[in-house]
C-alpha cells in the first residue's frame, strides 16, 4: 500500500499534464505553474507533509516528489516554447506559405544519369560492367580492333598520343579486347567510360566525352540478337513506342557493321527540326564482331560469334534533355546542374 502522498502526486501530475497539453496561452501555463509551485501551491504543501512520512518510506516519497517536480518543470518549459514559436507570427496560425527549411537535395550529373540508366537497363538483361584504362596502347585501341594502319582515326590530328607511343583511348571498344583477353566466353558486358578525341570544343564536340560499349560473345549469336537488344534498350530508355532502324555502315572491328537510329521522340517519326525531317535520330554504331578480332584475342571465329555496340552518352543526354550545347555539360553552373 503506497503512501497517500504518492497517490496525490500522481493524480496532480495527471491533471497538470492534461492542462499543459491543452494550454493555448502563456496565462494557461502560468495558471498551472501557480497551482503547483506557487506559495499556496500543491508542491510546497506536499513538501511540508514530508515530515509526517515514516522514515522507512521517506526516500521513496522524496524521489517521487523530486521526479514529479522535474517532469512538470520540463513540461512547462516545452509548453512555453511551443506557444512562443506560434505567437511569434502575428496571429494564432502560422503562414504556411513561408519557405520551408530545405533538406539539401543532391543531383546526379546528366551524363551520370544516362550512364546509370544504361547500366541498369543492361544489367536487367544480364550484362555486367567492365572497365579499362583511359591511357591505352595502340594495340588495344586500334590494332586488335582490326583497324588498318592507314585508318584516318589513328592520325595525330584526331587522336591524343603520349611520348611513349600510347594514346588516350578514342573509344570504349578497347575494353572489348581487354575483356576477351582476360576471360572465357560466354561474355556479356557493358563498359561505360570517358573517351578522348582531338576536337576543339564546340557545340557538339569536346576533347573528352563518354561512351558505353556493349559486347556479347557466345555460341550462335546473330545480327537478329543485336537488333533485339537495341530495340529492348530503346524501349526501356525512351519508351515503348520508340522504333529502331539499322543501316549498313563500316567499322573495322565489326562485320556486318551497322549504324542504328531511334525513331524521333520529338515528332514520333513524322519529321521535325530535331530529326532534320527524317523521323530518325542517329544514335551510334554496332555490328557482329569481326572474325579478325576473335583471332587476335585467340578465340576461334568458327566456334564463337558475338555482337558489339556503342553509344555516345552525351548524345543521348542531349536528345533526352534537349540540351543544344555539349559544353554546358562541363561548365558545372549549379543553375544547370540543379535542373536534373
Amino acid at each position: 500500500m503506497p503512501n497517500p502522498i504518492i497517490e496525490k502526486i500522481s493524480s496532480a501530475l495527471e491533471i497538470s499534464r492534461q492542462k499543459l497539453r491543452e494550454a493555448k496561452t502563456e496565462n494557461d501555463i502560468e495558471a498551472v505553474r501557480v497551482d503547483l509551485f506557487g506559495r499556496k501551491g500543491l508542491m510546497p504543501a506536499l513538501s511540508k507533509e514530508m515530515s509526517a512520512v515514516p522514515s522507512e518510506e521517506k526516500r521513496e516519497v522524496g524521489n517521487a516528489l523530486n521526479n514529479a517536480k522535474n517532469e512538470i518543470q520540463t513540461l512547462i518549459d516545452e509548453a512555453k516554447a511551443a506557444i512562443s514559436s506560434v505567437s511569434s507570427s502575428a496571429s494564432d496560425e502560422i503562414d504556411v506559405t513561408l519557405p520551408g527549411r530545405t533538406w539539401k537535395l543532391g543531383k546526379k550529373h546528366p551524363v551520370t544519369m544516362v550512364i546509370d540508366d544504361c547500366v541498369s537497363i543492361f544489367r536487367r538483361m544480364g550484362f555486367i560492367v567492365a572497365e579499362g584504362p583511359e591511357i591505352e596502347t595502340v594495340y588495344h585501341n586500334f590494332d586488335a580492333l582490326n583497324t588498318p594502319p592507314e585508318h584516318p582515326s589513328r592520325d595525330p590530328q584526331d587522336t591524343f598520343y603520349f611520348p611513349d607511343g600510347r594514346l588516350l583511348r578514342t573509344q570504349t571498344s578497347p575494353v572489348q579486347i581487354r575483356v576477351m583477353e582476360s576471360r572465357k566466353p560466354p561474355i556479356r558486358i557493358v563498359a561505360p567510360g570517358r573517351v578522348y578525341r582531338r576536337d576543339t570544343p564546340d557545340a557538339t564536340h569536346g576533347m573528352n566525352f563518354h561512351q558505353i560499349e556493349g559486347l556479347y560473345v557466345d555460341r550462335n549469336v546473330s545480327l537478329s540478337d543485336l537488333k533485339s537488344i537495341l530495340l529492348a534498350f530503346a524501349h526501356e530508355m525512351l519508351g515503348p513506342s520508340v522504333g529502331v532502324r539499322l543501316r549498313p555502315h563500316f567499322f573495322p572491328f565489326t562485320e556486318p557493321s551497322v549504324e542504328y537510329d531511334f525513331s524521333c521522340i520529338m515528332c514520333g517519326g513524322k519529321g521535325c527540326r530535331v530529326c532534320k525531317n527524317s523521323g530518325w535520330l542517329e544514335i551510334s554504331g554496332a555490328g557482329m564482331v569481326d572474325p579478325n578480332v576473335f583471332k587476335t584475342v585467340g578465340l576461334d571465329p568458327e566456334t564463337w560469334s558475338g555482337y558489339a555496340f556503342g553509344m555516345g552518352i552525351e548524345r543521348i543526354a542531349m536528345i533526352r534533355y534537349r540540351i543544344n550545347d555539349i559544353r554546358l555539360l562541363f561548365e558545372n553552373d549549379v543553375r544547370f546542374l540543379k535542373q536534373f
Partner: protein
C-alpha cells in the same frame, strides 16, 4: 561526295521521288548527309533573243535592248556587260516572281522606268535564277534554243545529294558506282556510257608503243596512256559545264573538264599532259630522288623524297603520281597534242605522300582508297571518245598499257549458306542469297545445297571473306527484314564482378548527402595541374600533341578543375555551393600514385539556408559542416576505424585542416581553402573542400551488419564536467572514457565547452553527459553512482583534469 540526280539518272532507272531515292541510299549504307533541292525555274522565265543593244542616254553602265520574246518585241533596260545583240538569254516577263536564295525575298517583275527609260522585264544572270553562281553577266543560252519557249523546257532543275561514303567502299566514289549499287538494290538495268573510238593507223601507233616506262611496278601496278593529236582547247559545251558545275566544280576548258567529268562519272582519276611539254615524248614512272623538286599546278614547289612516286618525262618530274599535275606540263589554250594518263597506284604510298606533302585532291582521295584496276582502260576509252567529240583531233596511239605481271587476283570465297543464315539470324534461302550475289555483280559458281563459290569483281576491294558476303546479303536483303527476336537476357557472370557497382553506390551516397555532381575536363595547363602543391611537373602525364598548352597535361587531381567550377559559379553569382566530382586522375610518378586512379572532391561554401529568412538566412557552412558530411558518408559506407586528425596542408588554411582516416588508412584531407586559391573570388564566404582518394576508400572492407538486441530497461543519466588543458582534444577524452570501460556505459556525449578568465589561460571547461543502461535489468542508483565515481577519479588521475 556530291551526286547529281540528273546525272545519276543517265546510268540506271532511279526513283522519281527524291525522298524515296534518299531512303534507298541510306538503307543501303550510303548515308545522305544533305539534299540540295534544285531550284524550280518559274514558267514566266522564257528564252529571249536580243535584237539590238544601245547605250542608255543617262547611265554609263546600263544598256537599252530590243528583245524578241517570240510573240512580241520588248524594250528592256539591262545592266550586264554582256547583253550583246544576237545573244539568247533568259527573260523574266512581267508578273514573274523571283525569289532570292539567300534572303528569301520575293520580287515581282513589273514595268518600270530605269533612269527615265521604260523597261518591260528583266534579263537574268544564272545566279538570279538560282541555277549557278555566275553573276558576271546575263546567262547565255545555246544558239539553237527556241525563242519564246519557257526556260524550264531546256534547263531541268536538278537535285544534288551529299553522300557519306565509308572508307571501305571506294567503288561508290562516282556516279557510275552509285548507279551500280542502286541497280543491285532495285534490280534495275545499268547503262554504261557510249564509247566510240576510231581505228588507229598502225604506222603511227608503232611510234608510241614504247613511250611509257614504269620503273616501280609495286607502286604503279598499271599505267595506260593514249595520245591524241590536233585537238582544239576551248570552252566546254553547256551540258558538260552544267554537269561539273552541278557538283560544285568550276569549268576550265574542254580537256580539263572532260577529265574532271570522268573522275566524277566513273571514279577513275585521269590526267592530260601537253605532249609538247614532255621531253623526249616519254613518260617514266619512278620514285623521286631525294631532294628533287617540282612545282605543282597550284604554283607550290615541293621538295621530294625517294618514297614519293612521280610521273617524269625524259628529264624531270611532270606530275606527283596520283596526287597533282605539274605546273608546266598541263593543258593550256595553246595545247595541240595530248597524252591521257589512266593509271592505278599503290594506295598506302599515295596516302603517305599526300600526307607528307600536304596535298589532297579528288584524285589522291580515290587512289589512296583504291581504284578499279579494270576501270583504268574503260576510263581512258571514255576520255578519248569525248575528246574526239568535243575537241576534235585524231587518235594516234593504241592503249599503251604497262601492267605489273604478278598482280594478285582476289581469292574466291567459299560461301556456306548456313553461315550466312547463322550470322544474320534469319531464314533466307540459298536461292535468294545467290540471287543477291548476282545482282551485286559477283560471280557465283559451284553452287550446291550447302555452299557456293564467289568470285569478286575488281571494283569490290572490300569483299574478302564469308563475313563480308554476309554483310552484302544483309544490305541488299534489307536490315529492316531481319527479325528482332525476343531478348535473350542470359546471365553469364555475377553482379559481384561488376566494375561499376562500388562507384555507383558511392556517387549515390554523396547525392543523398545533398551534393550536386560536377564534371570537368581531364586535361589542364601546367600551372593549374601543379597548383595544389602536391605535384611537380615531373609527376605529370604530358600529352605529345595537345590541342593547346591550356590542355597539355592530364590532371593529377580534381583539385584545380573543381576550383575552376567554384570560380565560374561565383563569378556568375552562384555563391551557395554543395558540389562533388569523381573522376580519373593521372600521375607519371609510380612512387607517388598508380598511373590512373580515382579521386573525389567535395565543396561546401555559402549559405546553408538561402531559402529561409531572418537570422537563419545568414547561417553559412563551416568546418564542422564539412566534417559532419564526411562522417555521415563514412557511416553510410559502414567503415571501421574512422577518425580525423589535425594536419598541415598547403591547400588549406593553417589550423582549419584535417586528415580523414578510415579502416586505419589515410583516405583524404579537407579544410578551409587557403587564401591564395580564393583570392579574387567575389564571395564573402569561405570555401570548404575535401579531396578523397576514392580508390582507397572504395577498396576498404565494410563492416558486416549484425543486429544488436535493444534493451527494454530504462537508462540513467549522469554528467561529468572538468577543466582541462586546451591541448587535450575531444577525441582523446572520449577514447579515454571508452577505454576505461565504465560498467553499463551506453553513450558519451559532449554537451558543453566553456572558457573564461576564472578558469584560467589555456584551459577549457568540458562537460559530458553519460548514459548508463543494462540490457537485462533496471540499474540501481547505487551501481550507477559507483561507476560514475570511479570514472571521475580515473579522469582526474589519468588525464590530469580538475573535476568540477
Amino acid at each position: 561526295m556530291k551526286i547529281s540526280y540528273n546525272w545519276l539518272s543517265q546510268y540506271t532507272d532511279i526513283p522519281e521521288n527524291i525522298r524515296e531515292l534518299a531512303d534507298k541510299l541510306t538503307m543501303a549504307g550510303i548515308e545522305v548527309e544533305a539534299i540540295e533541292a534544285g531550284k524550280i525555274i518559274p514558267d514566266g522565265i522564257i528564252i529571249a533573243e536580243i535584237l539590238e543593244r544601245k547605250p542608255h542616254p543617262d547611265a554609263d553602265k546600263l544598256s537599252v535592248c530590243r528583245v524578241n520574246t517570240g510573240s512580241e518585241e520588248l524594250q528592256i533596260v539591262c545592266g550586264a556587260p554582256n547583253c550583246d545583240a544576237g545573244v539568247k538569254a533568259p527573260l523574266a516577263t512581267l508578273g514573274t516572281v523571283l525569289e532570292d536564295d539567300e534572303t528569301g525575298k520575293k520580287i515581282t517583275i513589273k514595268k518600270a522606268k530605269l533612269r527615265g527609260v521604260e523597261s518591260s522585264g528583266m534579263l537574268c544572270s544564272a545566279r538570279e535564277l538560282g541555277i549557278q553562281d555566275d553573276h558576271s553577266g546575263i546567262m547565255h543560252l545555246p544558239k539553237d534554243a527556241s525563242v519564246g519557249a519557257p526556260l524550264n523546257s531546256i534547263i531541268k532543275s536538278d537535285t544534288v545529294f551529299d553522300l557519306e561514303i565509308t572508307p571501305n567502299r571506294p567503288d561508290l566514289l562516282s556516279h557510275w558506282g552509285i548507279a551500280r549499287d542502286i541497280s543491285a538494290l532495285m534490280g534495275t538495268t545499268l547503262r554504261f556510257p557510249d564509247i566510240k573510238i576510231p581505228a588507229v593507223l598502225k604506222a603511227e601507233a608503232a611510234k608510241y608503243k614504247d613511250s611509257v616506262e614504269v620503273l616501280n611496278k609495286g607502286l604503279c601496278p598499271r599505267y595506260t596512256a593514249r595520245i591524241v593529236k590536233g585537238i582544239k582547247v576551248k570552252e566546254s559545251p553547256e551540258w558538260l559545264k552544267e554537269r561539273i558545275q552541278s557538283i560544285g566544280l568550276r569549268p576550265i576548258n574542254n580537256i580539263v573538264d572532260i577529265t574532271n567529268f570522268i573522275l566524277m562519272e566513273l571514279g577513275h582519276p585521269l590526267h592530260a599532259f601537253d605532249l609538247a611539254e614532255l621531253k623526249g615524248q616519254k613518260i617514266i614512272v619512278r620514285t623521286a630522288s631525294d631532294g628533287e623538286t617540282m612545282m605543282t599546278l597550284d604554283g607550290k614547289t615541293h621538295k621530294l623524297k625517294s618514297s614519293h612516286l612521280v610521273i617524269a618525262d625524259a628529264e624531270k618530274p611532270v606530275a606527283l603520281a596520283g596526287i597533282m599535275g605539274g605546273e608546266h606540263s598541263g593543258v593550256t589554250d595553246k595545247t595541240v597534242d595530248i597524252l591521257i594518263e589512266s593509271a592505278v597506284f599503290f594506295p598506302p604510298n599515295i596516302r603517305a605522300s599526300s600526307r607528307e606533302l600536304g596535298i589532297s585532291s579528288d584524285s589522291s582521295y580515290r587512289f589512296e582508297r583504291g581504284v578499279d584496276f579494270e576501270m583504268a582502260e574503260a576510263a581512258s576509252n571514255r576520255a578519248v571518245s569525248l575528246i574526239l567529240e568535243l575537241a576534235g583531233g585524231e587518235i594516234v596511239s593504241d592503249l599503251i598499257d604497262v601492267k605489273a605481271p604478278e598482280r594478285e587476283m582476289p581469292a574466291p570465297i567459299n560461301c556456306r549458306f548456313s553461315s550466312i543464315r547463322k550470322l544474320l539470324g534469319t531464314e533466307i534461302d540459298n536461292q535468294e542469297i545467290v540471287e543477291i550475289f548476282k545482282r551485286l555483280g559477283l560471280e557465283v559458281s559451284e553452287i550446291n545445297e550447302n555452299s557456293c563459290r564467289v568470285d569478286v569483281p575488281s571494283y569490290r576491294l572490300d569483299i574478302e571473306r564469308e563475313a563480308d558476303l554476309g554483310e552484302e546479303v544483309a544490305r541488299i536483303y534489307g536490315l529492316d527484314k531481319i527479325p528482332a527476336l525476343p531478348v535473350n537476357a542470359k546471365m553469364v557472370s555475377s553482379l559481384a564482378e561488376d566494375a561499376y557497382l562500388k562507384l555507383e553506390t558511392a556517387k549515390n551516397e554523396l547525392i543523398s548527402l545533398g551534393l550536386c555532381e560536377c564534371m570537368n575536363y581531364s586535361m589542364s595547363d601546367e600551372k593549374s595541374a601543379v597548383c595544389d602543391g602536391k605535384f611537380t611537373k615531373e609527376d605529370l602525364v604530358e600529352l605529345k600533341n595537345p590541342i593547346s598548352s591550356d590542355f597539355a597535361y592530364m590532371r593529377p587531381s580534381l583539385f584545380s578543375g573543381i576550383l575552376d567550377t567554384v570560380r565560374r559559379n561565383i563569378s556568375r553569382k552562384n555563391l551557395d555551393l554543395e558540389l562533388f566530382e569523381t573522376g580519373v586522375v593521372f600521375c607519371a610518378n609510380k612512387n607517388l600514385y598508380p598511373e590512373e586512379r580515382r579521386e573525389c572532391c567535395i565543396v561546401l561554401s555559402g549559405r546553408k539556408h538561402p531559402e529561409r529568412f531572418s537570422s537563419e538566412k545568414n547561417e553559412t557552412y563551416d568546418f564542422f559542416d564539412m566534417k559532419g558530411l564526411l562522417e555521415k558518408w563514412l557511416e553510410h559506407r559502414r567503415l571501421e576505424n574512422t577518425g580525423f586528425r589535425k594536419a598541415d596542408d598547403p591547400r588549406f588554411e593553417k589550423g582549419s585542416c584535417a586528415e580523414i582516416i578510415a579502416g586505419g588508412k589515410y583516405i583524404g584531407s579537407f579544410g578551409m581553402l587557403a587564401g591564395n586559391f580564393t583570392r579574387g573570388m567575389r564571395t564573402q564566404y569561405p570555401v570548404y573542400l575535401a579531396v578523397i582518394q576514392l580508390d582507397v576508400l572504395l577498396g576498404l572492407k565494410d563492416r558486416n551488419i549484425l543486429y544488436e538486441p535493444l534493451s527494454m530497461f530504462p537508462s540513467v543519466a549522469r554528467d561529468v564536467a572538468f577543466v582541462a588543458d586546451e591541448s587535450l582534444s575531444h577525441d582523446k577524452i572520449v577514447e579515454f572514457i571508452m577505454r576505461s570501460k565504465p560498467e553499463n556505459l551506453e553513450k558519451v556525449e559532449l554537451f558543453d565547452i566553456f572558457r573564461d578568465e576564472n578558469i584560467g589561460k589555456n584551459k577549457k571547461s568540458m562537460a559530458y553527459s553519460l548514459t548508463f543502461r543494462n540490457s537485462a535489468r533496471t540499474l540501481t542508483d547505487e551501481e550507477v553512482n559507483k561507476a560514475h565515481e570511479k570514472l571521475r577519479s580515473q579522469l582526474a588521475s589519468g588525464l590530469s583534469v580538475d573535476l568540477r
